[in-house]
Symmetry: C2
Subunit: 334 residues, 2 copies
Amino acid sequence: MCRLVTSVRDRGNDSLAATNQRKMDSKDVKQDASCCSPVCVHNPHLDALKDDVLYHFSLGTGTHDLPAMFGDVKFVCVGGSPWRMKSFIEYIAAELSMEDPKAEYPNICAGTDRYAMYKVGPVLSVSHGMGIPSIAIMLHELIKLLHHAHCTDVTIIRIGTSGGIGLEPGTVVVTKQSVDATFQPKFEQVILGKTVVRNTDLDQSLAEELLQCSKELSQFETVIGNTMCTMDFYEGQARLDGAFCSYTEKDKQDYLSKAKEARVCNIEMESSVFAAMCKLSGLRAAVVCVTLLDRLKGDQLSSSHEVLHSYQQRPQILVGSYIKKQLKAKAAHK
Amino acid sequence: MCRLVTSVRDRGNDSLAATNQRKMDSKDVKQDASCCSPVCVHNPHLDALKDDVLYHFSLGTGTHDLPAMFGDVKFVCVGGSPWRMKSFIEYIAAELSMEDPKAEYPNICAGTDRYAMYKVGPVLSVSHGMGIPSIAIMLHELIKLLHHAHCTDVTIIRIGTSGGIGLEPGTVVVTKQSVDATFQPKFEQVILGKTVVRNTDLDQSLAEELLQCSKELSQFETVIGNTMCTMDFYEGQARLDGAFCSYTEKDKQDYLSKAKEARVCNIEMESSVFAAMCKLSGLRAAVVCVTLLDRLKGDQLSSSHEVLHSYQQRPQILVGSYIKKQLKAKAAHK
C-alpha cells in the first residue's frame, strides 16, 4: 500500500507536489510495485492515529470495516446534490444489471446529513454539496477512506451542472483543464496562512475516452473544453441577478467573452480543487458537467423542472455508459 | 422599500460599500424613512426581471406570494446542517409556545435538496451547507427573498459549530470580528476576475445582548472573541489528520498560537462572507458557534455522538432565549 511520507515543511511552494515527484523515483514507491495504482495519502501523522474518524461521513476505522465495505471500489462518482447521487446509483445498478428490485439503496452515511453515499458493486456514488470548501472536506475523507480500504486503480468522475458559454443548453462538457476566475489553470490552497499553488491537470486520456463514449451513444452533444471554477455563483460568475451587482451588462459580456477566448466552455464551482486533490492522491479523474443555460444569453435558471431534470441526467448516462464499457472490457480480458 | 441602486462600475474597490455610504445620505434613502430598516439589495438589474427565480430555494416571485409567506419574518437563523435547522424550528416553536403538536414543520424548500427552510411565526430557519461559496449562494437568495417579501427590522444569526482555541469544548463563542487565515478582518470577493475586499464587521450591540442573555441563562460558558474563517477544514485549519499534510505538529501549534495572539477564539468556515453580505444588505447580524473540541489539544472529532449533540444545542438554546426575550419586550412595548 502506498503512503508517500512527506516531511518537507511548507514554505510557500507546493511541497506535496514536489515531494510526490521525488518519491515517485524512490525506493519507497518501487517497493510498492505489487499494487497497480493505489490511492495515496500524503500525511505521516496518520500513522500516529489509533483510529481515524471520518467525521463528515459518520464512518471510521475503529467503527467500520472499511476494506470489507469498500475494498472492491473501482469507480467513484461525485456530484453536488444528494438526490442526484441516489438517482445515479439506481441508474447504474440497472445499467450493470446489479439492481435488487426489493432493495432500497441505503445511504452509507445515514448517521450524518453532511454528505450522502451509495454503493453498488464496484461503483461508489457520493454527494459533495456546493463549492470548493464543501467538496474539499468530502475529498479529504474519501481519499482516506479509499486508502484505508486498500483500493487500487480507482477512477473518479465528477458529474455536475454548470453554466455554458456559447453552447446550446443541455450540452455536456468534459473538462480539459480547470481554470480560475482569471482563466489560469491553478488552485490556491491556503496552508498555515500561506498560499500554495496547486496544479489542476485532469486525466486527458480519460477525457478522450468519455468523449468517444458520447459519440458512440449519440444521444446529446458533448464537447471537451476548459471549465472555469469560481468561488461564488452570482458576483463570482458575473451574474446580473444576485442581491448585489455593481457592474453592467456590457461588463458581464466582456468578461464572459474573455473567458470564451481562453477556451472556457462552462462555469461551475468545484472542479479546481477536485482536479488538484485527485492528482495529488493518484486518482484518475474527470469532470463531466451539463450546461443548464447559455450565460451569454441570460443568468436565471428559469427552464421547466422537466427540462432541467432531463439535462441533469446526461452526465449520468454518459458516465454510466463509460463504466459499463470498462467493466465489459475488463471481464473480456480475464 | 429600499433599493440602493448602484451604477458605479467595479474597478477593484468595494464600490458597493462606498456607494452604500454615499446613498445613506441621499434623497433616495431619506424618502424611505417610513420603513424602519429594510433589507437592501444593491442591484439595478433586478428591476428588469419579470420574475425572480430563487433557484436554490425552489421559490420565485412568479410562483410564490413571498410577502404573504415571509412578510412577518423578524429573525432568521442559519446553520450548516439541515437536520439542525429543523430541530431549531421545533425548539423555537416550543419556546415561543407556538408549536402545533399535530403538525410536522414542512420544509419550505421541499422542491430542492440544496437547502432546507422552516418557519414558525416571525422566525425563519435556513440551512446553508458547508463553506463560503455554499452560504453565499443561500444569502444572495435569502436577501432577495426578504427584500421581495418587504421584510423590515430583520435580525440574522448564524448558529454553528467550530473548533476552539484554548477553550473548554462546549464553550459558545459570540463573534466579535471575523478574520481570515492571516488574522485580517476582511473578506475577498472576486468580481469579474478582480479581487474586491469587503468588511467583516458584525453588530457589536447584538453580540453584547447575546452575551448578556447567556449570563442570564447560566447554563454554559459563553465568550466574545474573534472567529477565524477558513476555506478548508483540514490543511486550511492546520489539522494533522487530513489526506494531505506537509507540516509538523510544531508548525501547527505555532500557527494556532499566533491565531490566539490575534484573539481568535474559534475557527469555522462561513462567518466572513456572512458578515460581509449581511452588512451590505443592512441586516443586523451575529455569529454564535459552539466549540466541539480544543484544537490546541487535537484535531479529530472523536467525542461521543451524545456529547457532540448536546454541545450543538447550546447556540440554539442561547438564540432561542434571545428571540423570546426580544419578542416579550416588543409585546410589552405595544
